[in-house]
């Protein structure tokens, strides 16, 4: 603990007190470091425990039939079957939600970033988007139930589920699009405008392409977020084994919710397999996003 003095310094007025002060601040620094490392290890340990446990029991109940079969009720031959409809249902729901949510969110983001400079609409829109991003998803579920399911004579449907998910996606996509567009250098816009391009052309040909990578990242994060949503779907899509979006619709998360609650051991195992797959799905999405971010930053530095 006695590093060589690199620079000569003036002597302290009271050498003894100064030495104590220095020793104390070194000690504080070391304590801070140790505590940080300790708590990081705690978090890591928790994560390893949870995923380890999930992988352990998930893999045990994961058979090929999980991907190829419908769920089979208790007591029937072949029970508990698989979660094929739920897997497909989740993919279809995400697809439909993206078709609705991404364009609306992106256009809103473009407005906020490129057109709203003098508009009184901008600040409220930004505020509402931020609030909506933080709204608990159960609220979205109840809203979807009241505004979509009830008016359709209490008819649950895949469309209602997709709408609820889209509602969650829109503010996330809007805000990330805005932020990513604001990162595009102003000089690009000026150069394009100075060459006589219209504003719309500048946005479509210069600004958006320059931000594509980062916008895709934001969109993927929004998809990963809704892929794990359960509450909105319980209130809107309900659950089923048939893939007709005008009828009650299956999804991985809602099926996990039902199976994990049931008393049947086989169904519980099915739920754990479902959880494993869901986590893998979100993990893969995150890895892809990180890959994108890495390639983008590599392009930027070139």
């Amino acid at each position: 603990m006695t590093p060589d003095a690199i620079l000569p310094s003036s002597p302290p007025d009271r050498p003894h007190e100064h030495a104590i002060f220095i020793a104390l601040s070194r000690a504080k620094s070391n304590v801070m470091y140790t505590v940080s490392v300790l708590f990081t290890l705690v978090i890591l340990l928790l994560l390893v425990l949870v995923t380890g446990y999930l992988v352990h029991i998930g893999f045990k109940s994961l058979h090929w039939s999980f991907f190829t079969e419908k769920p089979i009720p208790q007591g029937v031959e072949g029970a508990p079957g698989g979660m094929k409809p739920a897997l497909e249902g989740t993919c279809i729901l995400i697809g439909m939600a993206s078709v609705v949510g991404i364009p609306i969110g992106m256009l809103c983001g473009i407005y906020l970033s490129e057109y709203s400079a003098n508009s009184i609409l901008a600040t409220p829109t930004r505020f509402v988007a931020d609030v909506l991003t933080g709204v608990p998803s159960i609220v979205v579920g109840v809203l979807g139930y009241q505004l979509v399911v009830v008016p359709m004579r209490h008819h649950y449907s895949g469309y209602a589920g997709a709408l609820a998910l889209a509602f969650i996606m829109i503010p996330i996509v809007a805000r990330t699009t805005e932020e990513m567009l604001l990162l595009v250098p102003r000089s690009y816009r000026e150069a394009s405008i100075a060459l006589g391009a219209t504003k719309a052309r500048t946005i479509m040909v210069i600004v958006l392409p320059a931000a594509t990578g980062s916008i895709i990242t934001g969109v993927m994060l929004a998809i990963a977020r809704v892929a794990g949503e359960t509450a909105p779907l319980i209130f809107t899509a309900l659950g089923s084994t048939l893939l007709d979006p005008s009828q009650p619709f299956p999804s991985l998360t809602v099926d996990i919710y039902h199976y994990a609650q049931g008393g049947d051991r086989a169904e519980q195992q099915l739920a754990f397999a479902g959880i494993l797959i869901l986590i893998l799905l979100i993990f893969v999405l995150n890895v892809i996003v990180r890959g994108f971010i890495a390639t983008i930053s590599r392009q930027r530095t070139h």
Binding site: T2, D4, A19, P185, R189, E190, A191, G196, T198, P209
Partner: protein, 315 residues
């Protein structure tokens, strides 16, 4: 415990190197503040202050030139702060006009007013007129897109679009809806040759423009600006981010462009203004102070303020 406390202390008695002549340092590095005239200026000299009202000193040679852009009592404010206080100036056609002056004197603002690029900034207020070929550019019926197509602009920091070299050069033509490949390639080659870049990039037209060197990127921006055959080329400190070799190439280029285009160039570098311009305008604190042929501005300025600036005594 640190050993620093025990080390013998020498700092306080360190020999200070002999002070350089204070006067020179002050003269070179003094901020362009009128409240602090440089020592050589002498206390009795009056420099321009923010409140000085005086007519611009315009040399008579300018009256014989045909003008393409005429600026009449042009004032511009960012919010409440007035940045340009009534500029009167004519830009001669086919000549290179340099705008010089210390940072923040309004050179760039004036340049960006000529193609109305300041429209992009909120909260801006204009007074007076700018005429382009006799037509006031701020009139309601003026198509600002059309105006900008007739004025190329090159920026301080090279800003090629993240696309291929080819697409960068022909961007203005794409805007115009030109689709014939033969025309696009012809214009691309002509513009790149015009910007003295063709030989260096002819084999990699379809590679990203971001892979070029800084000097090449800036020449690409010039090629892009001249692709649509503009009448005026506005350059905002085009060499400030370049090394001397690249700067020399751009200056040669500007020299070659005179006659074909009217060039207005903002520069911090007075040698650059002296080397490549026909006329020089000296601006200070949002006013045009003196404007005349480059030779007389540098060798025989009418005002002592101009002389002080061009000889490097302040600013």
């Amino acid at each position: 415990m640190s050993t620093a406390a025990e080390t013998p202390v020498t700092t306080r008695t360190t020999v200070v190197p002999p002070a350089p002549p204070q006067e020179q340092i002050a003269a070179r590095s003094a901020p362009p503040s009128p409240q602090r005239p440089s020592p050589r200026q002498g206390a009795s000299d009056t420099l321009i202050t923010p409140n000085t009202q005086r007519a611009t000193e315009i040399h008579t040679e300018l009256s014989t030139e045909k003008s393409i852009v005429t600026i009449e009592n042009f004032k511009l404010s960012y919010g409440k702060a007035e940045a340009l206080h009534g500029i009167n100036m004519t830009i001669p056609i086919g000549k290179v006009t340099a705008l010089i002056g210390p940072s923040g004197c309004g050179k760039s603002t004036l340049l960006r007013s000529i193609n109305r690029l300041n429209d992009l900034i909120d909260n801006i207020r204009l007074e007076g007129r700018i005429l382009f070929n006799g037509q006031p550019i701020h009139d309601r019926n003026v198509d600002v897109i059309e105006l900008r197509k007739r004025m190329g602009m090159v920026f301080q920091k090279s800003n090629p679009f993240p696309m291929s070299i080819f697409e960068n050069v022909i961007y203005a033509l794409r805007i115009g809806g030109e689709k014939r490949r033969s025309v696009l390639y012809e214009v691309c080659e002509r513009s790149l040759r015009g910007a003295a870049l063709w030989e260096e990039v002819k084999d990699r037209l379809h590679q990203s423009a971001l892979g070029m060197s800084g000097g090449q990127q800036q020449r690409l921006c010039i090629a892009r600006a001249i692709a649509a055959e503009p009448e005026v080329l506005l350059m905002d400190e085009p060499c400030s981010a370049l090394d001397p070799v690249a700067t020399a190439k751009i200056e040669d280029l500007i020299y070659q462009l005179r006659g074909k285009y009217t060039v207005v160039i903002v520069t911090h570098n007075m040698q650059q203004a002296a080397r490549c311009s026909d006329y020089t305008a000296f601006m200070y604190l949002g006013r045009l102070i003196e404007y005349g042929p480059t030779n007389s501005i540098f060798l025989n300025p009418h005002l002592k303020e101009t002389e002080a600036y061009v000889t490097g005594r302040f600013g």
